[in-house]
């Protein structure tokens, strides 16, 4: 069995899906210019000590990457409703290769989204050292692991008719509570935010722009969410493939 061959075709069909690319890559870009461009002169956004173009570049890179990875759940649900997963069960495809193909595709989309936001940020005057770009990207990729688990979980739990609202709602809620749209600085909301993977994804995106990265709490929260969503995703996958009368 050629695992690489299978993953390559999965990637190829994602790249061929123009609407997916347009929405997945275009949306964060459009939002970024709509929000950051009118505020490009704001040097200290909401007491965060960060300029508006930097703040929203990080926020929308987070939002775009989250969207890109969670979108895998929508594609899984669509393939399930097509009966494609039932067909795959009659081939020697193993679960590892199946997940690998889904994750490589999701991460590829996330990386392109992040890269495009960087370019857009640079266009609005964001200037960072090479080390900063690399550090924030690396930490974000780690911070996306819980979202990959969440995508597989939702994809195997929810039907294709409900997966849109399920993923849209999850993304909106996590983005809002994680501080994508405005800084969450204190109170109960901050305490909730700190327990969410989206908050730490936002922190990861600030590493290059004066952020401190992840505290011990951050690593623990991300690790816990990664393990939790991976276990739940595995259970949902097994339940789904074992289901009778599929």
């Amino acid at each position: 069995m050629s695992r690489a061959g299978y993953v390559r075709y999965e990637l190829l069909r994602t790249v061929r899906n123009r609407r997916l690319l347009a929405f997945s890559l275009g949306f964060p870009l459009v939002l970024y210019f709509a929000i950051a461009a009118p505020n490009r002169g704001v040097g200290d956004l909401g007491g965060s000590g960060i300029s508006a173009p930097v703040y929203f570049m990080a926020g929308l890179a987070t939002f775009g990457a989250m969207n890109a990875v969670l979108g895998a759940g929508g594609r899984i649900a669509a393939e399930r409703s097509l009966g494609w997963n039932r067909l795959l069960r009659l081939t020697p495809l193993d679960a590892r290769t199946y997940f690998q193909a889904k994750l490589v595709t999701a991460y590829a989309l996330a990386l392109v989204t992040i890269g495009l936001l960087y370019v857009a940020g640079a266009a609005l005057g964001v200037r960072l050292g090479a080390g900063s770009w690399v550090a924030m990207t690396g930490l974000m990729l780690v911070g996306l692991i819980p979202f990959a688990g969440l995508a597989v979980l939702i994809g195997h739990l929810v039907g294709s008719d409900a997966v849109g609202p399920a993923i849209g709602g999850t993304t909106a809620l996590l983005a809002f509570l994680g501080g994508v749209w405005f800084p969450i600085t204190g109170g109960v909301l901050h305490a909730i935010a700190e327990a969410l993977p989206s908050y730490w994804l936002v922190q990861a995106s600030r590493v290059g722009t004066g952020g401190d990265g992840w505290s011990a709490t951050g690593w623990i929260v991300v690790a816990a969410w990664s393990v939790g969503t991976a276990l739940a995703a595995g259970a949902a996958y097994r339940r789904d493939t074992a289901r009778e009368h599929a």
Binding site: Y6, Y9, N17
Partner: protein
């Protein structure tokens, strides 16, 4: 190993499977035994609800039996599938979009240890002209051929086809069976479920008839037909009601098409004597052996579906 001791291609022993329903569990498969030798082409027949799809699901490992065992090429079904030794074409299921036909086949081929070349698979299924077409732009019949190609590209030893020609036109059906015949000639074991009885009659070495989750007949198409012992009497006979015809000795069923009557007979000798004695106006009389459809109706209508207490 002696040739006679080869493991069977498919071996089902005492297979049982029930589904819950509000009125109590319904047994889809009840104590089913079936052995298929390597290289055989077998048709699985039966009315809706006879247990055909459940039987195929059990032998493909898509469902687990409540009791009994299923072995494919002497292996657990899931193991045989994981080893790439089984290919299947199911009744439902779309094709993955955004790939060409050739790319989709290459994607599936990449999962098998020793796949058939994509080009060869395309030629075998008559898809060369469509190799570079995206899967979402195929007609229903074309998509059906691609589904067969997907089942064949792994070069499996056992091929399972569930109602493979549904939705195909006459020409597509002819080409489809030509492909399957070539595979059978190459020594592949083929099991297909169908409700087109003439396909079973024409293409299967062996016919297995299911009713109410059990095998009710098993043999070559001519054996199954003769086992039933049905013959048909046709005659021109206007104006006689069907009830009267069905009351004739040896007749099980009477049908009228215009002035022509058709009598299904368990004892055609008694029936023809009775017909000529009671209705001498009958003319243009023909007596023929049963077609598979009559055997099918006769064998599957004997007992009503039962529920488990």
């Amino acid at each position: 190993m002696d040739a006679d001791e080869r493991p069977p291609g498919v071996l089902l022993r005492g297979l049982r499977k029930a589904y819950p329903s509000p009125a109590g569990p319904i047994e889809a498969v009840r104590d089913l035994d079936l052995a298929i030798e390597i290289g055989e082409t077998v048709a699985l027949l039966g009315p809706n609800g006879a247990g055909k799809s459940t039987t195929l699901d059990l032998l493909l490992g898509l469902q687990q039996p409540d009791a009994g065992t299923a072995r494919v090429l002497a292996l657990e079904p899931r193991v045989a599938v994981a080893a790439g030794r089984v290919g299947a074409m199911l009744q439902t299921g779309g094709l993955l979009r955004d790939l060409t036909v050739a790319e989709l086949l290459a994607m599936i081929a990449s999962l098998y240890p020793a796949p058939r070349a994509v080009g060869e698979t395309l030629a075998l299924t008559g898809l060369e002209d469509l190799a570079h077409r995206r899967t979402q732009k195929l007609s229903g019949g074309q998509a059906q051929r691609v589904r067969l190609a997907v089942a064949l590209v792994g070069d499996p030893e056992l091929l399972v086809l569930d109602e493979p020609t549904v939705g195909m036109d006459v020409e597509a059906r002819r080409e489809f069976w030509a492909t399957v015949r070539a595979l059978a000639a190459a020594g592949r074991t083929i099991l297909f479920a169908t409700h087109y009885l003439q396909e079973a009659d024409a293409f299967a070495d062996r016919v297995v008839l299911l009713a109410h989750g059990r095998v009710v007949a098993d043999g070559s198409p001519s054996e199954v037909k003769s086992r039933v012992g049905l013959r048909t009497i046709r005659a021109t006979l206007p104006g006689v009601p069907g009830v009267r015809l069905e009351a004739l000795a040896g007749v099980t069923r009477a049908e009228r098409r215009g002035d022509t009557i058709e009598l299904s007979c368990t004892d055609s000798d008694a029936a023809i004597r009775a017909l000529l004695a009671e209705l001498p106006a009958a003319r243009d009389i023909e007596i023929t052996g049963a077609v598979l459809e009559e055997a099918f109706l006769h064998l599957t209508s004997e007992d009503a579906p039962e529920r488990v207490a």
